[in-house]
């Protein structure tokens, strides 16, 4: 018997290829031209790594380095804070029984994913200026922690849902208090979920542009805002090199997050 299989439709392959092309062509162009030997961004004259060197040593290198330092330090701290909060939220939501307002809590936690980012950005900016919070490094960090929480929450809660409650009961039965049951039993079993939540939050923070651009204040840049700033003065090939580096790094992290989430699931199925 043959089930429904879209692969049997005529033109399936063509449509797939067209879609993939539209999705990836711009990225491929950027990646290819980052290796271009000329200053032109439209004419390919030869392969070279000069624009990569330029990123690290050129005129704008100091600016990029500062932006990268901001981006990475913010992403790491925001991801850690968001992961900790998301883990606590997941344990409360998944293990807290059926408390009143549970659906509402879930909606509140995951809403930021659905809300258009520009709205969140404007709201965050208004919030900061209302309470008189100075815009700068710290305001970016706070904003990033907040919008990273739902992204960290989803893989962590999914993982926790697959873990039977009897593991914690067994731990408590064996004289572990609630904290130690979490620390020695639940957390290690949840670890793949927590780690994949952390990586997701990290990459979301690292790649964020809109919210960051609103709340960064003058003089503080992250990589995406620095790239945007540089592009406004005309696209130079060094931006393509920088973007390609950022792209590769993102792919690496997302792949890692996926692999960890998957391998963990196989190993701890009980």
């Amino acid at each position: 018997m043959r089930g429904f299989d879209p692969r049997n439709y005529t033109g399936f392959l063509t449509v797939t290829l067209v879609c993939l092309f539209i999705l990836y062509a711009p990225l491929i162009v950027v990646a290819v031209y980052s290796f271009n030997d000329s200053v032109s961004i439209t004419r390919f004259t030869g392969v070279s790594l000069r624009w990569y060197a330029d990123v690290f040593t050129g005129l704008e290198a100091a600016k990029f380095r500062a932006a990268a330092a901001n981006s990475f330090s913010i992403a790491i701290m925001a991801a850690m804070a968001a992961t900790a909060i998301a883990t606590a939220a997941a344990v409360g939501m998944v293990r807290g029984g059926n408390f009143r307002g549970k659906p509402a809590s879930f909606a509140l936690i995951s809403m930021p994913i659905m809300v258009p980012e520009i709205v969140t950005a404007v709201a965050t900016l208004i919030f900061f200026s209302t309470i008189g919070f100075a815009l700068g490094y710290l305001s970016i960090l706070v904003a990033h922690i907040v919008f990273c929480i739902p992204f960290a929450y989803l893989p962590i809660a999914a993982r926790l849902q697959g873990i039977e409650a009897s593991f914690e009961e067994a731990a408590q039965d064996l004289y572990a208090n609630r904290w130690r049951a979490f620390r020695y039993v639940l957390a290690p079993i949840m670890a793949p979920g927590i780690f994949s939540g952390f990586l997701l939050a990290f990459i979301i923070s690292l790649d964020d542009f809109i919210i960051t651009n609103f709340v960064k204040g003058a003089g503080v840049e992250t990589l995406p805002t620095a790239i945007f700033g540089a592009v406004k003065q005309g696209i130079k090939p060094n931006i393509m090199a920088l973007s390609t580096l950022l792209l590769l790094f993102s792919i690496l992290i997302v792949t890692l997050s996926y692999l960890i989430g998957r391998s963990g699931n196989e190993k701890y199925q009980n």
Binding site: S166, E169, A170, Q172, L174, N177, Y268
Partner: protein
């Protein structure tokens, strides 16, 4: 078994449990003696697990009290109760090897490394898993996991060990072996066991005493013999073993016995409680207590079922009632339509009020 000086291992006093509007346990009270193999037996949903989880501390108590060697424990969290549980699905920690699993309780109790290692070694030897000490649970068979769960729960020397259908995940052969091993372990360690099962054979073969439960209530508590031979009501007689359950009415009340009319015959029975003439109830007669004899109740053979060592015979007595008879196979074969006589062994018929 109960000594004067020692309070019962576990005392349950009017324990009630409601889940919202549903009552899972209604006022259960009994004592479990020190060093006893005590079984909670009953059909699915009767509240066995609920009661066990209340003793372990995973479920709160709606009303009543639970005592452990005289100390009231129903308000203590599970980690402060000196009882351990063997979970039905074992719940071995997947990220720890066998030795770490067995030592977990000791670690939480703050034992020193050396003491833990010695005790873990001893426990692993007790359940015969010496060669598997450094395997993860996922690398063990079901029977081996079961032993790890046992060793882990017994390592901290609990005052009472709680076992929730620990054998139900094993295949038949292994289950029978584990029955003997469990019983031996209990006698060796002297730990009080509270064992939950819905398998009556398991309960009869292992327990010192059995509490038969139904619909959130304890129906009868007694030794396997008492439960089987002297059921106090219709539910217990029906649930434990096979029986012929016949509607009956008391015709005469004698001293220690009653007479009832069954079909066209009069039968002498032992009543489970004081009864009066004319009272309605049931007569329970175990199939193996009916024998084919040269005289007695006249009957015709309706059907025979060959069961290896026994044959089950469905016999119709005068008055149209069918009785099941279990006869040992001794070569003689009966056929449908044969006329036989049934003899009811002394004390085999039991009159039950409800």
């Amino acid at each position: 078994m109960v000594t004067e000086t020692k309070p019962p291992a576990v005392g349950i006093r009017s324990a009630c449990k409601d889940y919202g509007s549903f009552t899972a346990l209604r006022s259960v009270s009994f004592d479990i003696s020190d060093n006893e193999f005590f079984t909670l037996l009953g059909p699915s949903g009767c509240g066995k697990t609920t009661l066990l989880r209340m003793i372990a501390g995973f479920e709160g108590i709606t009303d009543g009290a639970i005592f452990l060697y005289g100390e009231e424990i129903e308000n203590l969290p599970p980690d402060r109760r000196p009882v351990n549980t063997v979970f039905q699905n074992y719940s071995l920690f997947p990220h720890m090897d066998v030795a770490e699993n067995v030592g977990f309780g000791l670690r939480m109790l703050g034992w020193t490394k050396g003491d833990i290692a010695a005790r873990v070694k001893q426990m692993i030897a007790l359940v015969k898993l010496e060669d598997f000490a450094h395997r993860r649970p996922a690398q063990l068979s079901g029977g081996q996991q079961q032993r790890v769960a046992l060793a882990r729960a017994m390592a901290p020397r609990p005052k009472v060990l709680l076992l929730d259908e620990p054998l139900s995940a094993l295949d038949l052969k292994l289950r029978q072996n584990m029955r003997e091993e469990l019983k031996a372990l209990q006698q060796e360690t002297g730990i009080t066991f509270i064992f939950v099962t819905h398998d009556q054979e398991e309960a009869l073969s292992m327990s010192d005493r059995i509490a038969v439960m139904s619909a959130g209530e304890v129906q009868q508590i007694g030794s396997p013999e008492e439960i089987y031979e002297f059921p106090v009501n219709r539910f217990v007689a029906d649930f434990i073993g096979d029986t012929n359950m016949l509607e009956a009415e008391v015709q005469q009340v004698g001293e220690g016995f009653v007479t009832c009319q069954i079909g066209d015959a009069q039968l002498t029975a032992v009543a489970s409680q004081a009864v009066t003439q004319g009272q309605k109830g049931w007569l329970s007669i175990r199939p193996e207590r009916l024998t084919i004899a040269s005289d007695g109740l006249p009957a015709t053979v309706e059907q025979t079922i060959y069961l290896g060592t026994d044959t089950q015979i469905l016999a119709r007595i005068e008055g149209g009632l069918n009785l099941r008879v279990r006869a040992q196979n001794d070569g003689a074969r009966l056929a449908q339509g044969d006329c036989i006589f049934l003899n009811v062994a002394d004390g085999a018929a039991r009159f039950l009020v409800e």
